[in-house]
């Protein structure tokens, strides 16, 4: 259904949530390859092709970053700040997908430049719905800014 070259980066530390999110994507018929990283530092390494991800230097940036807020090493808001501060990634669509319903996280998330803020509901059926809408919007309808490849 969607352009399968468009890579999605999922930044999520809970293996259960990773499994469930991947299941939700599958069930929503979103066939894009999904790369999973487990903490904030790894997410930045992936995006800027450093360390373990040095071989990504020639590859384009992911189409969408799905970012959890509570992450080991560097939290989601820290990752977002770094993404927006770097000119290579400043236009990258970032969707915050988190348990937190705290107003402060919402405000900080948006003010740091998140494109969307989606809360993970307990009810998986609702979660599925949310992921479906998310994929539909960001991977099919939304026209992203021209890509800049990292050197």
């Amino acid at each position: 259904m969607s352009d399968s070259n468009k890579v999605i980066l999922l930044v999520e530390d809970s293996p259960d949530d990773v499994t469930l999110t991947l299941r939700a994507f599958k069930r929503s018929h979103l066939m894009n390859p999904i790369c999973v990283v487990r903490d904030g530092i790894e997410a930045l390494d992936f995006l800027f092709a450093r360390e373990a991800y040095a071989d990504r230097a020639a590859l384009p940036l992911p189409e969408l970053v799905i970012l959890d807020l509570k992450l080991p090493k560097l939290d989601g808001l820290g990752v977002l700040k770094t993404i927006r501060a770097d000119e290579r990634t400043q236009l990258l669509p970032v969707v915050i997908l988190t348990s937190s319903k705290e107003e402060q996280d919402l405000i900080t998330g948006y003010s740091l430049g998140a494109n969307s803020y989606v809360r993970k509901p307990v009810d998986f059926a609702e979660f599925l719905e949310a992921v479906k809408v998310l994929g539909l919007y960001w991977l099919m309808l939304n026209q992203t800014a021209p890509q800049r490849t990292p050197q």
């Binding site: 259960d16 949530d17 993970k120 009810d123 998986f124 059926a125």
Partner: protein
């Protein structure tokens, strides 16, 4: 020295001066009175001397027995008067002595004159020698009398001089008294200015400084008087205020730290407690979807129960967090149109369950001073309750209005739903308290606790009236202008 002592001293001085002036006036009055009497006596003496001269003349001219007797009488009167005359000063005494002597001499001379002229027979010629002697005597007599008169006039002068002296002294004393009083007044004014007005001005400045928040301001008025004492009390008071202020600040910091901790706790509860629930629900659903055909009804039911329980716990966590947020949220009071807000919530409920037909009777134009988002939560809860508990009513009606109760304006939300027994009313607003079985009406039992907390935070309250089978009415009030009460630190100028 104390101000009151200084004031007493000044008053005593002024009173003493006044007393002195009064005494002086009294003395002068007596003096003038006495001198006046003396002058009268003197003029009487002069009168008597004049009389004496007249009778002496008469005798010398006519030698009548009557004149002789009169001379005797006048001379005696004169002697008495001179003896009775009061003596003031040596000069006066001398004049008086002269007068007495003159009078005696005059009388003696008169006696000699009489003796010399007693013998001649009427009609017989008087010899030359006798006549010469008579003339000599009478002229001496007249001279003496003239001198006496002069002395008497001098006595009168003394009296006048005494009056003048008394007058001068009175003027001098009054002038001195007035000067003294003027000095006392100036001294008093200086005293008031230096020991009262100036320190009071400083005190006034100090109260202003302290009122403006300058807690470090110290008066340091060293004087031992009442104002000095007051200044020391004032300094002690600001010190005490400073201390308690520091203590409050300390407690506030502790409270803020505690609040931060609670926030961090809530955050991790919100985030970490929901994760496992998501897994429970998600993987149960995965089982149902992927292996549903291999499971029997009981297994599917069990999985569904796991999902239901997870979702219920998810809601519980959310509402508990909501309750704690309501407690911690900062109030931002505005005028809110309650009628409009209720109508919006009602529309939302109607849209959620279009199959239900509930009649809404919402009074127009109800406005309150409230925090918009908190009021929204409270009304949402109350209206959802009304909506929920009229679910089994044939013709459901929900009324929202305003009324006066015990002199206060309160709003109400009334429904004709299942209601409840008022015996349980006091349990209604506690967290996790439910009056209905979960199977009858879904809910977590946190909603009304949240609602009550919201109205309490607004300085208001909530109460309920209900009857089983006839519905429930929730009455709530918000303080009419709580923001004014909070901001009345400074009285309007």
């Amino acid at each position: 020295m104390k101000i009151s002592t200084k004031g007493q001293l000044a008053t005593a001085m002024a009173l003493a001066t006044l007393g002195l002036i009064a005494a002086m006036i009294w003395w002068a009055n007596t003096e003038v009175h006495e001198a006046d009497q003396q002058r009268r006596q003197t003029s009487e003496i002069a009168q008597a001397l004049n009389d004496l001269r007249m009778v002496s003349f008469e005798y010398i001219l006519h030698r009548t027995e009557r004149a002789r007797r009169q001379e005797e009488e006048v001379a005696q009167r004169l002697q008495r008067m001179l003896a009775a005359h009061p003596i003031h000063g040596p000069a006066q005494a001398e004049v008086l002595a002269d007068l007495r002597e003159h009078t005696q001499s005059t009388h003696r001379l008169f006696g000699e004159f009489r003796a010399g002229t007693a013998a001649p027979q009427p009609g017989l010629p008087v010899d030359e020698a006798t006549r010469r002697f008579e003339a000599q005597l009478s002229s001496r007599l007249l001279i003496l009398q003239q001198e006496s008169l002069a002395a008497a006039l001098r006595l009168g002068d003394y009296a006048t001089a005494r009056i003048n002296a008394a007058q001068q002294r009175v003027v001098a004393v009054i002038a001195a008294g007035l000067l003294l009083m003027a000095l006392t007044t100036i001294g008093g004014a200086l005293l008031i200015s230096r020991s009262v007005l100036r320190p009071i001005a400083r005190l006034e400045q100090a109260t202003r400084e302290v009122a403006a928040g300058n807690w470090g301001f110290k008066l340091d008025i060293g004087s031992a008087d009442e104002i000095g004492q007051m200044a020391r009390h004032f300094d002690a008071m600001t010190q005490a205020l400073r201390d308690s202020f520091a203590q409050i600040e300390h407690s506030n910091r502790e409270l803020a730290a505690l609040n931060k901790e609670i926030e961090a706790f809530s955050y991790s509860v919100s985030h970490d407690l929901r994760g496992p629930l998501r897994s429970m629900d998600g993987f149960s659903l995965a089982l149902l979807e992927d292996y549903g055909d291999k499971l029997d009804d009981e297994a599917r039911d069990s999985l569904q129960r796991i999902r239901n329980a997870s979702q219920r716990m998810g809601r519980l966590i959310d509402e508990l967090l909501g309750l704690s947020r309501v407690t911690r949220a900062e109030l931002s009071l505005r005028t809110v149109n309650l009628s409009e807000m209720v109508r919006e919530i009602a529309d939302g409920l109607d849209k959620q369950q279009p199959d239900r037909k509930v009649r809404w009777e919402i009074a127009d134009g109800i406005t309150v001073q409230a925090d918009r988002s908190l009021l929204q939560i409270a009304l949402q809860n109350l209206l959802e309750n009304a909506w929920k508990f009229t679910g089994k009513t044939e013709h459901p009606v929900i009324r929202v209005g305003q009324q006066r109760h015990n002199g206060e304006t309160e709003c109400f939300i009334a429904d004709n739903g299942v209601g409840f027994d008022m015996a349980y009313a006091n349990r209604l607003f506690g967290a996790f308290q439910r009056l209905h079985h979960e199977s009858e009406f879904a809910g977590t039992g946190i909603g009304l606790a949240t609602v009550q907390r919201i109205f309490r935070r607004h300085g208001g309250s909530i109460r309920v009236q209900a009857r089983p089978g006839e519905g429930a009415t929730f009455y709530f009030s918000l303080k009419e202008h709580p923001h004014e009460r909070l901001e009345q630190g400074h009285p309007a100028g």
